[in-house]
């Protein structure tokens, strides 16, 4: 089947079989950040944005993304690097395997809720499993990042 997907702002037309999963399709397009961490739709490692929403690419048929926009970490380099530094600062990244999915979903959270509470952060990121850390480092990193953003914003407003 012929499908056209706008992947990281680039329109790509390709031939897929009816059961090609989106995860395998984006990987075939060179987006290696997207990984499979489980077989049961549980780990969140395969998170991509379908239009603007974070979804598990391991559970979406590529044909269902036909005509839509798909964004992976490769398409969000700047945003991801900015945020990722705060996570690294806390040593929250150990083996790092969970990181791409975690960063994607954290970015989705910030878009949906720019100023989340700790409880909201926990709830939004509950579907991103990490087998190394105890999630505490990530939480500290997120809170630091949010505080830094707030500061940056208020500094900007003062200048104005």
């Amino acid at each position: 089947m012929l499908i056209t997907i706008t992947l990281n702002h680039k329109k790509i037309t390709s031939e897929v079989s009816p059961d090609t999963l989106l995860i395998d399709w984006v990987r075939a397009q060179g987006c290696a950040s997207v990984k499979r961490g489980c077989e049961t739709a549980n780990c969140g490692l395969c998170t991509v944005f379908l239009e603007e929403k974070p979804v598990l690419s391991c559970s979406v048929l590529a044909v269902r993304a036909d005509g839509k926009r798909v964004t992976t970490l490769e398409g969000l380099q700047e945003e991801a690097a900015e945020f990722g530094a705060f996570i690294a600062d806390q040593g929250a990244e150990q083996c790092g395997f969970c990181n791409p999915g975690f960063v994607m979903n954290a970015l989705a959270l910030f878009r949906e809720k720019p100023d989340p509470t700790e409880e909201e952060i926990r709830e939004y990121l509950a579907g991103n499993l990490c087998r190394c850390s105890g999630y505490e480092g990530q939480m500290r990193g997120i809170l630091n990042f949010l505080a830094w953003k707030k500061e940056k914003k208020s500094a900007k407003e003062e200048v104005r």
Binding site: D19, A41, N42, L56, S59, L61, N105, A126, G127
Partner: protein, 432 residues
């Protein structure tokens, strides 16, 4: 992962329904459950081009299209407000946001999973399933009911009996209205009568076990309980419109929505063991619960002339209707760890009516499918002792089983605690 040979984006419900009558074809929901299965799907039928991804406010309540995601449902302001946050509570523990952005209401309800938070919550509400051309499988209901009665399968009989009685009453009312109508209606009446007969049988054989029919001891005695039941039957039964009249009303049975022939089934009936079998069910706990209905389906198969596979399970679930009622809701679940399946799930409604309140309790992840208990009348406030008595009654009457997430004894204990908490939270002074 399943293998999919062909993919078809349906252009109409009729097309989806026709395709779905062929063995080997399957409707795609969010595909999260389906994906974990093995085997081959001939044609995967996609309903996502039919505008069924909307939550629509109607005069009676809300109509939720089958392709609405669990996340959409969770974030819906009207439903959040109406349920006092209970619906959101039922959904927010399901795996993660990225998962809930995909999982659909249609797949969640049609799957009738025992562990389902979605089904547990919907069963606690006044909700209905709307199936495209579902009535065409109606003769199977009789077979299904008979088999169920004969085998006396689930131990949930008393509760099922209570449900049956309610249904029977509805059917009866529907019958009266329909009786005056056209030939087609007469055929329906015949089907309905059979159903009723079968159900009465089912009910009768169980009544001895629980004379109160799932009604807990309450401040007032059995007469009131009966009154409450009569009252209960009424709001569910609107007039069934004539064949050409399109209806948005909450009548059960055959209705027309935007010209499409739809059969509307009360959620609790849809979830009852005899109704259908869970498709692609891999959960071991589910298997036990579904064994009975599996047999039913085989039997029903034989009767379903021309229909592939098991009658009802070839239906297309178009939407779920939530009817507004004067009620407050709460939802609780117990999980061994965040985002895991629940060990037990509990939805409850505190329904105001003339002379007091009734409590409707829905318990799921028993580990079998959700079932409901309905209380008699309580006065305006739920005293501590009554709440405790309600918990004990629920523990005694709601059957539980064991699986790797918890033993039957543990689950029964949880039934008591959660039922009591629900009673206190909704009817008490808020302390629990």
């Amino acid at each position: 992962m399943v293998t999919i040979r062909n993919y078809k984006k349906a252009e109409s419900l009729e097309e989806a329904w026709r395709l779905n009558q062929q063995r080997g074809n399957r409707i795609l929901g969010g595909m999260l459950w389906m994906k974990m299965g093995k085997g081959t799907i001939q044609t995967a039928i996609d309903l996502s081009g039919l505008g069924l991804d909307k939550i629509e406010e109607t005069p009676e309540g809300w109509r939720i299209g089958c392709m609405v995601t669990l996340r959409q449902l969770e974030l819906h302001e009207g439903l959040e407000k109406y349920t006092g946050g209970a619906l959101r509570e039922a959904l927010r523990h399901i795996v993660g946001v990225q998962f809930r952005n995909l999982a659909t209401v249609g797949g969640s309800v049609f799957g009738r999973f025992g562990f389902s938070d979605v089904c547990t919550m919907l069963a606690a509400m006044d909700s209905y399933v709307e199936l495209y051309r579902g009535m065409e499988a109606a003769p199977n209901v009789e077979a299904a009911q008979n088999v169920e009665t004969a085998q006396n399968v689930e131990t949930a009989q008393h509760v099922a009996a209570a449900q049956n009685v309610e249904t029977a009453q509805n059917v009866e009312a529907v019958q009266n209205v329909e009786a005056a109508q056209n030939v087609e209606a007469v055929q329906n009446v015949e089907a309905a009568q059979n159903v009723k007969a079968a159900q009465n049988m089912g009910a009768a054989s169980n009544v001895g076990m629980t004379p109160n029919m799932g009604v807990v001891p309450s401040v007032e005695a059995p007469q009131n309980v009966k009154a409450a039941q009569r009252e209960r039957a009424v709001p569910n039964v609107g007039a069934v419109p004539g064949a050409e009249v399109s209806s948005d009303g909450v009548s059960v049975g055959k209705v027309f929505l935007g010209g499409a022939p739809i059969v509307r089934v009360p959620m609790r009936e849809f979830l009852s063991p005899g109704y259908g079998k869970a498709p692609l069910s891999k959960d071991a706990s589910e298997k036990t619960a579904e064994k009975a209905s599996g047999n039913v389906a085989e039997k029903a198969d034989g009767n379903a002339a021309g229909n592939a596979s098991s009658g009802y399970d070839r239906d297309v679930l178009v939407s779920v209707l939530i009817r507004r009622e004067p009620a407050a809701y709460c939802y609780q679940s117990v999980r061994n760890s965040q985002t895991d399946f629940p060990v037990l799930s509990c939805g409850a409604a505190w329904i105001s009516g003339e002379g007091g309140h009734r409590l409707r309790l829905s318990i799921g992840a028993r580990p079998a499918r959700a079932i409901c208990l309905e209380s008699g009348l309580f006065s305006n406030e739920m005293p501590q002792e009554e709440a405790r008595a309600f918990g004990e009654y629920a523990e005694e009457h709601i059957p539980t089983g064991s699986n790797l997430r918890g033993s039957a004894a543990y689950r029964s204990h949880l039934v008591r605690v959660l039922a009591m908490r629900a009673a206190l939270r909704l009817g008490g002074n808020g302390k629990c």
